[in-house]
Amino acid sequence: MNWIDIGTPEDIPLRGARVVKTRLGCVAVFRPAADEVYALADRCPHKGGPLSEGIVHGRAVTCPLHNWVFSLETGAAQGADAGQVETYPLRIEGGRLLLDGAKLALRGAA
């Protein structure tokens, strides 16, 4: 584990998302509830839509391009669609958002 400080939860609008740029593409950081955050690859497996621009509802996000819905907890597509989005460990500690750099590194290796 290699926790990287990426900001505070308040930097992300409630029921919204922001992106973190990495060398291997963007990671979307979602905030479905005040003290709840999730990190997923910012790329829909269907047509590559930016998930960070989707509508966040419950613990899910709807891709803005073709309305595929993904679980923020598992990254799995919901309903009739089949697909999987990479998820990344993210936690709140001392009011800061900490993203796991180790998993990001693996992303490159995979």
Binding site: I6, V20, T22, I55, H57, V69, G108
Partner: protein, 810 residues
């Protein structure tokens, strides 16, 4: 043996007690009253004030009554002391009288707000005949201010108004009679009173009372408003009058403590009426007071009785304001509402249920069933069997459970079904029998359910009853999986309940998801901002990406940027600025759109705030090419250049675009103005198109040139440009208030009927209301989103939260 009973106070509770005790006998009664008279019906002071009754008509116990029953009256004499040790009371005259039993019925005192100036002459409460006479002393044309928009305050105001006095009501809370009415009924009441000419100010805080030579002159509000008046009436509440009891050492809380037998902490002293506190409650309505008198009389005559507080109902005694309220109608998680509204007739009924039992009812406009509902509340009747037809009242409840279909079948032919258009059952069944076999056909032939749509269900049931199996009830399509309600249901409930926030919608309408989904959230967000422009704030997180980012997302995740070109007119400077921006941000594609403007395609999301700021600097604002709102107003060149032009079509187009831009609508709205019937601007396939002719402007609506192609239909013809603008705004606002989210105007018009739209927009009064409502919304929403989002704080949201590309992800 006759024993001595002293009663302090001769109000309504005491009056009833005297009656009951003298009928039973066994007591010699002495009746003290601080007011110089016996018992009268205090509740009827309002009709006395308004002139509908005289004082003598409301006296319930006259001198003859007391003489006949041998009651020793000491009217106009206060009791100054109770000595419980010696069992005596002392009157203001100095007389000391012994008692075997004492009843305290001192009632209540009006609460006077200790504002500076509250002791000036002309500042009164509304409690007794003296106060009433004081108000009756005002001449027509004089001015009065009433502080308090509760039951008593409004009765005072209405009574004064009936006497020709000019009245202003100042109420601290947001709506009238907030203890008895919910907001919706409070609104209807206010509308009625304002319509009569009573000035009503809610959410108004009084600051001080101004006077001259010791006499009241004006009330000053917190916001500095000065309300001149010759009389100021404070009707802000009452509190139990407990001074005497307290001084005598009896247990006193808010009121004099009594048990179920109305005994105070001293077994020889009873208390009844507004001065008592029983089970933590104090009383202000007459029904429980009479119950207390009955219990006290029984106790005094040696019978067994116990006081049980029962549900009480309120009716406002203002002629023409039909209003009823009973039980508990506060909102709560465990409660369900049944609401019936008929806007055309100003009727509102709301029933509050808990565990299949009616616990509260509020009605305005038609209160005929109030007594029946009150009975259901008192008896805690299980209403699950008649729930579907409950709101229609007792005439729809048979011995056995009735289904709604049978209830409709049982309606008489002259029962009104559609209040908006005044259509009764007979007309509808005749139309159905004459071949109108669908809802749309019934609407077209009778106009029933063609306006607000509240009666749609009833009309469908009539179709089913009349046609039998030949009619299949269309199943209503819910908005999405989060709810069983349709868009129409939700729009109606948002207005009627009313609901002013998304959490309120989710909670009150029983959403099955915690905060909706991508289908319902944008719709609810629009409905709320359209219906409650002042109370609700737009939620960007409930918008589709294009409206949140104020740019159209493209398939590669880049965006397009379209600045507004008013009426399709641009300048060399604007074109240069657009060209510079295209160069600076390496825009791959520049395209002229069908709406007479220029589209910059392929702008990266992170560059949006910067390119907007550049275009803003050149005087351009967002073209809203991405929004469910006004897109463009296409124009031809009109009289300025064209040899056929009949009017300044470009100028009108620009005026319309400047008036309408920035407003949110159920779907996108495109307009066009053509300068002559050659129609170069293709106005007849737009949501609203204007074709100029020599004699004026032909406005038509409901065109389409997308998935469906449809020619517009005439809305109306007007003579002046100003009227053309007014009609257009009114049409857009009507569409905003009524259409289902994502219905273009042509789809909406097909549902409500062009006739209805024409009638609403064509009605001068309604048109003015629509224009004003639109202006109110525009005062909040007509802002350039580009300027807002290019500001540094907002622009940060477009940048990455963090950039780890430079950091080795070791």
């Amino acid at each position: 043996m006759t024993r001595n009973l002293i009663i302090i106070g001769a109000g309504m509770a005491a009056g009833r007690l005297v009656e009951l005790v003298t009928e039973a006998g066994g007591w010699h009664i002495t009746l003290f009253n601080a007011e110089p008279r016996g018992t009268y019906n205090r509740i009827m002071l309002s009709p006395v004030l308004s002139g509908e009754k005289t004082y003598s008509e409301i006296v319930t116990h006259d001198d003859g009554f007391y003489a006949e029953r041998g009651v020793a009256c000491r009217f106009g004499e206060r009791v100054t002391r109770i000595d419980r040790e010696a069992r005596t009371v002392t009157g203001a005259s100095g007389d000391v009288l012994p008692y075997d039993k004492l009843v305290i019925a001192t009632g209540s005192e009006p609460f006077i707000i200790p504002l500076p100036g509250h002791d000036l002459d002309g500042v009164i409460a509304y409690r007794d005949l003296e106060d009433t006479e004081r108000m009756m002393g005002l001449a027509a044309g004089q001015r009065a201010v009433v502080i308090g928009g509760g039951l008593l305050g409004l009765e005072a105001a209405a009574g004064l108004h009936a006497r020709g006095v000019s009245v202003t009501v100042v109420h601290l809370m947001g709506h009238l009679m907030e203890r008895q009415l919910d907001e919706a009924a409070g609104y209807l009441l206010r509308r009625e009173l304002v319509g009569r000419g009573i000035d009503i100010r809610c959410s108004a805080n009084s600051k001080e009372i101004k006077g001259k030579d010791g006499k009241v002159q004006a009330l000053i509000l917190e916001d500095g408003t000065e309300l001149p008046c010759d009389l100021l009436v404070m009707a802000v509440g009452i509190r139990p009058s407990t001074g005497l009891a307290k001084a005598a050492g009896l247990a006193v809380g808010r009121g004099v403590h009594v048990d179920d037998q109305m005994l105070t902490s001293d077994a020889d002293v009873l208390a009844i009426g507004e001065c008592v506190e029983h089970g933590g409650q104090v009383f202000g309505l007459v029904a429980p007071l009479y119950d207390q008198a009955k219990v006290a009389a029984a106790v005094l005559t040696g019978a067994e009785a116990a006081f049980v507080n029962r549900e009480t109902a309120t009716k406002l005694k203002v002629t023409g304001c039909d209003l009823f309220s009973a039980g508990d109608f506060a909102e709560g998680e465990d409660r369900e509402d049944i609401v019936f509204r008929d806007p055309g007739r100003g009727i509102y009924k709301r029933l509050v249920l808990r565990d299949n039992r009616l616990i509260g009812a509020v009605m305005y406009g038609d209160t005929g069933d109030g007594g029946w509902f009150h009975g259901l509340i008192k008896d805690a009747t299980d209403v699950s069997e008649m729930r579907d037809t409950l709101i229609f009242g007792p005439s729809f409840q048979g011995g056995a459970a009735l289904d709604p279909m049978a209830a409709v079948a049982a309606l008489p032919a002259d029962a009104e079904i559609c209040g908006c258009n005044g259509v009764c059952k007979g007309q509808i069944t005749t139309a159905i029998e004459g071949g109108a076999g669908t809802l749309d056909a019934v609407r077209a032939t009778t106009k029933a359910s063609a306006s607000c749509g509240t009666c749609t269900g009833l009309v469908e049931q009539l179709l089913a009853v009349t046609l039998g199996e030949a009619f299949v009830l269309p199943t209503a399509k819910p908005i999405c999986g989060c709810t069983d309600l349709t868009h129409e249901d939700v729009r109606r409930l948002i207005k009627s309940k009313p609901l002013k926030s998304q959490p309120a919608v989710w909670q009150e309408l029983g959403w099955s998801t915690p905060n909706g989904c991508h289908v319902c959230r944008p719709a609810i967000n629009f409905y709320l901002l359209a219906d409650w422009p002042l109370e609700y704030r737009d939620d960007p997180q409930s918008r589709f990406v294009n409206e949140r980012r104020h740019a159209n997302i493209q398939k590669d995740g880049t965006f397009s940027v379209v600045p507004r070109m008013w009426g399709g007119i641009t300048t060399p400077d604007e074109l240069r600025a657009i060209a510079d921006a295209a160069d600076k941000y390496k825009v791959p594609t520049v395209k002229v759109t069908g709406g007479q403007r220029i589209d910059l395609l392929g702008v990266r999301g992170v560059d949006l705030p910067a390119i907007w700021a550049d275009l803003n600097r050149a005087g351009m604002v967002s073209g809203h090419a991405y929004s469910k709102g006004l897109r463009t107003v296409k124009t031809c060149v009109g009289t300025d250049h064209c040899r056929f032009g009949t009017q300044d079509s470009t100028g009108l187009g620009i005026k319309l675009e400047k008036a309408l831009w920035g407003s949110w609508t159920p779907h996108k709205v495109k307009l066009a103005v053509s300068g002559c019937p050659r129609n170069c601007a293709e106005a007849t396939c737009k949501d609203l198109g204007i074709v100029c002719v020599d004699s004026g402007f032909e406005i038509s609506v409901g065109g389409a040139a997308g998935m469906d192609v449809k020619e517009t239909e005439p809305l109306g013809k007007v003579a002046t440009e100003a009227e053309a603008v007014e009609w257009t705004i009114a049409f857009v606002q009507l569409y905003r208030e009524n259409a289902k989210y994502l219905d273009r105007p042509y789809k909406w018009i097909a549902k409500v009927g062009l006739d209805w739209v024409q009638a609403r927009v064509g009605d001068a009064e309604e048109r003015a209301r629509l224009v004003a409502a639109f202006a109110l919304s525009q005062s909040i929403y007509q802002r350039d989103p580009w300027a807002d989002l290019a500001a540094p704080e907002a622009a940060r949201g477009f940048a990455p939260l963090a950039d780890l590309t430079l950091e080795a992800a070791e």
